[in-house]
Point group: none
Chain length 404, copies 2
């Protein structure tokens, strides 16, 4: 309940030969389809996960805080032991990570929207009628022709009207206000300079925006750009140093690979299917102490409102559990980054079921892996997700005693 600060835990970890495996089933937590029914996880056929729950310690975690619906980025930070309220990353960096852009230290990234402005330059639609992704890709190609001396520009399409702008060069600063006015009827803002050292970057951004306006002028509805969330890759404590773990990430989607890379994890090559990740795990088992394995499809099924599919996917995941146990990790954690109940078709704030398995677990009477069953578990019904890594370290024999 009281997770120690990094400097505290950094003094306590000791070298060991033990392995920790964290399997994240994205959007794992669910809700019954109707009152009295079962959640997707409860309805799934999961004999292997149930056995793991019976041998291990269970509970439900809150990734960010009570009542807070997590985005995938912050939720993963929490699972990795980083308090997501303290470690916040700008929108620009998050967007860049989401498309797998290789952000360098010192780069300044911004989230961009194509938008519509009228003849007087006032914004009339902040999303340019949600143009299609293909259209956005064309427009980005056009913007790439913009050249500004002394800075390298990257313009990458995201989904629909969204894109990412990255500035790379000397002495850039992200301390700039948004150009997005967040409302229609007014002109885009000039980027507000929030620190003296950002003046140069502001000038570059103004030049980019002016040239973008010219290049897009005839392309109504996408005849202008809005930028927000100027940010740089944060200088956060390195996961390997804080927890004393050589860490590897096995994730197919760019966003998850990006977050892992941000913390200093080694992102291994693998495809999205779990088989590919298990093969990569086996191939690299001796090289690392900590393995993060991500499984995306459960979240997508939840977002689609397809409870049957989410249930079926969880049944499939269960079939792979023996392969993971065969690797013989000292600690095996199975949980989600957040809940995505199919009935809600979205992420939610509901606590997320978790199993921590190790030989040193004290049994807690939980015999099945499901939301209601986990309530009675030893980890508690609403524990902070950031507790998981310190606990894994303890069970892996990687923390020495505090005080005499």
């Amino acid at each position: 309940m009281m997770t120690p600060e990094f400097d505290f835990i950094e003094k306590l970890h000791v070298p060991a030969e033990t392995k920790i495996l964290l399997l994240v089933l994205d959007g794992l937590g669910g809700l019954p389809q109707k009152f009295g029914g079962q959640t997707e996880l409860e309805a799934a056929d999961t004999p292997n996960l149930d056995a793991l729950a019976a041998e291990g310690i269970c509970g439900l975690h809150e990734p960010i805080g009570t009542g807070i619906t997590p985005g995938s980025g912050p939720a993963h930070l929490a699972l990795f032991g980083y308090d997501p309220r303290r470690f916040q990353v700008g929108r620009g960096v998050l967007s860049a990570l989401g498309i797998g852009f290789d952000l360098h230290d010192g780069d300044v990234a911004a989230r961009g929207n194509f938008c519509t402005v009228d003849d007087a330059g006032r914004v009339t639609d902040r999303r340019a009628g949600r143009i299609e992704t293909g259209k956005s890709r064309e427009l980005c190609a056009r913007l790439r022709k913009i050249k500004i001396p002394g800075v390298e520009l990257f313009i990458e399409p995201v989904k629909e009207h969204r894109f990412v702008l990255v500035l790379r060069g000397l002495e850039l600063s992200p301390r700039l206000g948004d150009t997005d006015p967040q409302q229609t009827g007014t002109e885009p803002h000039q980027p507000e300079v929030r620190a003296l050292e950002a003046e140069h970057t502001a000038q570059l951004v103004r030049q980019f925006v002016n040239q973008a306006r010219q290049k897009l002028a005839q392309l109504h509805p996408a005849n202008m750009v809005l930028l927000r969330g100027f940010s740089s890759r944060p200088a956060w404590p390195d996961f390997r140093k804080v927890f004393g773990l050589r860490a590897a990430a096995l994730a197919g989607y760019p966003m998850y690979r990006g977050v892992a890379r941000l913390l200093g994890m080694n992102v291994l090559d693998c495809e999205e299917p779990l088989e590919s990740k298990i093969a990569a795990l086996k191939a690299h088992w001796e090289e690392f102490d900590f393995f993060y394995v991500h499984f995306k499809a459960t979240d997508s099924a939840g977002e689609d409102g397809d409870a049957q599919k989410k249930q079926r996917l969880l049944t499939e995941v269960d079939r792979h559990l023996p392969s993971l146990r065969d690797l013989d990790p000292e600690v095996l954690i199975v949980t989600g980054d957040h809940s995505t109940p199919a009935v809600m078709k979205s992420h939610s704030w509901h606590p997320v079921p978790a199993i921590l398995w190790a030989k040193t677990c004290r049994p807690d009477g939980v015999k099945a892996f499901g939301e209601e069953a986990c309530l009675a578990g030893g980890l508690g019904p609403r524990f902070p997700a950031i507790d998981l890594i310190p606990l894994a370290l303890a069970h892996a024999g990687r923390l020495r005693k505090f005080g005499a």
Copy 2:
């Protein structure tokens, strides 16, 4: 879950005639000997503790934080309501407390090792081959002949190669670095001066180390000393003032007596057996509001890996419970300072079972005192140990309402 700060609680406590009794069974928490089995406490025959659990409120506490294995000193601070991450005491002071040395304000204490150095003065063994305690005692007697003008020196043997050095005099400061290089192959460090006012103390320490080197020169393998953890008795808030309790400690071992004395408790004379402590309790019952009773043997049995003995000791403790209840305290807490599972033969991070009994307890359905049973208790499965004292004050009618 959020224990108020001292200045908050200090404003709320009110005088009362009520008594709080805290029984600490050292190393209480355990693990099953094998999967599906019972812990030491669960296997013990404890009808009186079970009845107390049924009448009171139960749970399991984490002394320091999730996954953190507590030393006895910090674990006791937590039970007394002092967050052990905030109230940290130096190694020297802890060692002095551990042997029952009567540290005065302004004394500077250091933990010492007898070590081996080669002809060039380089450390070859930081522990002098772990010489026997008897030998260490002889060497300490020899070091006591060292006289340095302006300071009184105390040199006390601990176990094996360990000793405690205490300097007593005017204007001493503990702001010194270790002389222990923490590795072999290098000479001992000169004590680094970390604050201007520590220069004088550094000179005294240098003189002591030089004279010690001369006195030990012919006594290979113990031919030199290493010092670390220079520290002084901390000026912490007084338990009596913070919580408004006249506090008495009944503990046989020096370490526990020392910690209690550090907080301003009155340490009463008693022997280690529980009978002796109960007799002392009766004799002093009217003089105090808060009684801390320590029982060491359960931890020792756990450290020895003797689950049977730990179980037997808990059965014995149970037989004494009626004598404690006969004293008619308004609040009776039975818990441990940390877990010492016999299968691990060491302290561990596992949460510690706890009962808080008072007439104002709201029943929580727990009918037996054991690790699994306590999970369902009203205190929660992983509550911070520092919550216990505020809760005891409340049940003892010693806290007024906050706000109107």
